[in-house]
Amino acid sequence: MKDGVVLFESTNKTDANLFLKEIYKFLELNYLKFFKMDHLSKLGFLAAEFLLKEMPKENLEFMNIYLACSSSSLDSDIEYQKTIRDKESYFPSPSVFVYTLPNIVIGEIAIRFGIHGNNSMFIIPPYQKDEFLKTPNHFFQDTTINPQLSGYLDYLGDHYKAEFILKY
């Protein structure tokens, strides 16, 4: 949904990963790195794609990105923990471990669009979401004239959500 208008609706109601793939196709993306990402990064990457795909390059370089989540990277943490649980099935991998940080999604968005500005991932309780999305707030003050991507995203198990706001 963008500016209150539904852009894409899926008939699949249960499989979150499939839903993300459907959006990828809907956006006609050709970005192989997408398939290496964890769920949180895929979710944030697609939300950013909706807002930034038509933005001119000069508006992107100094853009600030301020995101918040509640479950941090717990979805990937649980996946990684499975790889170190016992001797028989021990296979810790750097490509899984790197996603056990919640700010990697910001890195993925920055790489995709060449964004070098200020960036931060805040961890907030779910009940603080609306306060975070409301500006001005303590989390990020709009002191610069730079374009700004802010938003809330969360992904854990079957529960996921992304609400992004673009200001420029």
Binding site: I84, P92, P94, L101, I104, G117, N119, M121, F122, I123
Partner: protein, 390 residues
């Protein structure tokens, strides 16, 4: 660009506290670094990945003894080790200046990368235990413990979290009526984190050697740090400026050109005369790529002649606490007019001829720079300035 030192409204560090492998207070840690001591030890069978791991652990027995016998602290048995560390440093830093953390004009800012991640090792977590995996839950409980009425802010931006939390805290203090901001960061050693860095082949089997020719990787450490910021306390070290950027290059490798760090330096150090900078306290993890990237970024900004040190050989990489602990030690260096030695360094191992101090140096220049870089391509630079007008 965040120039924070505005006339009649400077932001100053008025108190601090540290717990790490070298001790339980800032003075103890500072003196250990002056004496080139390391808290890292080789531990066997910590993970299934490698037989030994060089880790910089807190003396838990001593820590438990300290919190049980501290009459300022209530019973902390219901808190995890990670949360106890945060409570301990907040209490310690507040007590030194007689600040009540319950004061409604005080705001908490927290930084951590992994919080209570060690809880994941337990099978069949109860819903209450599972909730403690959320960093915001720990923060909520700590804030309630101190009876602080304000909604705390928590940053989890990989290895720049601590440095960034100080920049954020200073920004908030400058633009709001809050009188004090307490910034607290902590992270603990767990097989989760150690096995992950082992999978990257990023760990050194010995005490790490930042910027050295024979550096092979980092040491993981654990720790907590807290600083109290206030306005217009000019006889204390001030947070002069700070900036955060992104490489937009790679999620787990630093930029070859040091792009993000160069931009962070450019934005925060633009107006500072280079001959007034005493030292740069680098991220200096002792991985081949990180140290080389930093050297390139410093050189691009014409800072190659400024002495560079790293404390990673002393107490390891303390992740979400690193930026706070290392900023405290940098502030203390400015105050004492010294440049601390960069332990582990023998022969230059980066492509730029940096000056890395092997022994303690006397120096009274008024500025220093703290830098940090992390996974996700994030970089931070923070400039501290000595109190008196120079």
């Amino acid at each position: 660009m965040n120039r924070l030192s505005v006339k009649n409204n400077t932001i100053n560090i008025i108190s601090d506290a540290i717990v790490n492998s070298l001790g339980f207070d800032t003075d103890e840690v500072l003196s250990a670094i002056m004496n080139m001591r390391s808290g890292s030890k080789s531990l066997e069978n910590f993970t299934l990945s490698e037989p030994t791991a060089m880790l910089s652990c807190i003396d838990k027995e001593k820590f438990n003894h300290l919190i049980e016998n501290n009459h300022q602290l209530n019973d902390l048995k219901s808190f995890t080790f990670f949360e106890q560390l945060m409570i301990y440093v907040i209490q310690n830093a507040s007590q030194k200046i007689g600040l009540d953390p319950a004061d409604p004009e005080t705001l908490f800012v927290f930084s951590s990368t992994k919080g209570n991640i060690d809880l994941l090792e337990k099978q069949n977590l109860s819903p209450d235990q599972f909730e403690r995996l959320y960093i915001w839950k720990s923060v909520e409980l700590i804030t309630q413990y101190f009876k602080n009425p304000n909604q705390a802010i928590t940053i989890s931006n990989a290895c720049i979290s601590g440095t960034q939390a100080i920049i954020k805290g200073a920004e908030i203090l400058k633009s709001t009526p809050f009188k004090h901001v307490i910034i607290c960061g902590a992270d603990c050693i767990s097989p989760f984190v150690v096995s992950g860095f082992q999978s990257f082949k990023a760990l050194s089997p010995d005490i790490c050697k930042p910027f050295d020719l024979n550096r092979t990787g980092l040491n993981i450490g654990e720790g907590a740090g807290a600083v109290v910021l206030a306005k217009n306390q000019e006889d204390h070290i001030s947070i002069f400026s700070g900036s955060v950027t992104n490489d937009a290059n790679h999620i787990s490798g630093p930029s070859r050109t040091g792009e993000g760090l160069y931009r962070a330096l450019m934005q925060s150090c633009e107006d500072i005369p280079k001959d007034k900078i005493s030292f740069i306290n680098a991220h200096g993890t002792a991985t081949p790529y990180n140290d080389e990237m930093e050297a390139i970024a410093f050189d691009r900004f014409n800072l190659a002649e400024v002495p560079v040190n790293s404390f990673k050989a002393n107490f390891g990489h303390t992740l979400g606490a690193a930026g706070i602990i290392e900023t405290i030690l940098s502030a203390r260096s400015l105050e004492n007019e010294i440049i601390l030695p960069s332990m582990g360094f023998d022969d230059l191992g980066v492509s730029i001829p940096l000056t890395i101090p092997k022994t303690l140096i006397k120096d009274s220049k008024p500025y220093c720079i703290k830098t940090a870089s992390g996974f996700g391509g994030c970089n931070a630079a923070l400039v501290l300035k000595k109190g008196e007008i120079v």
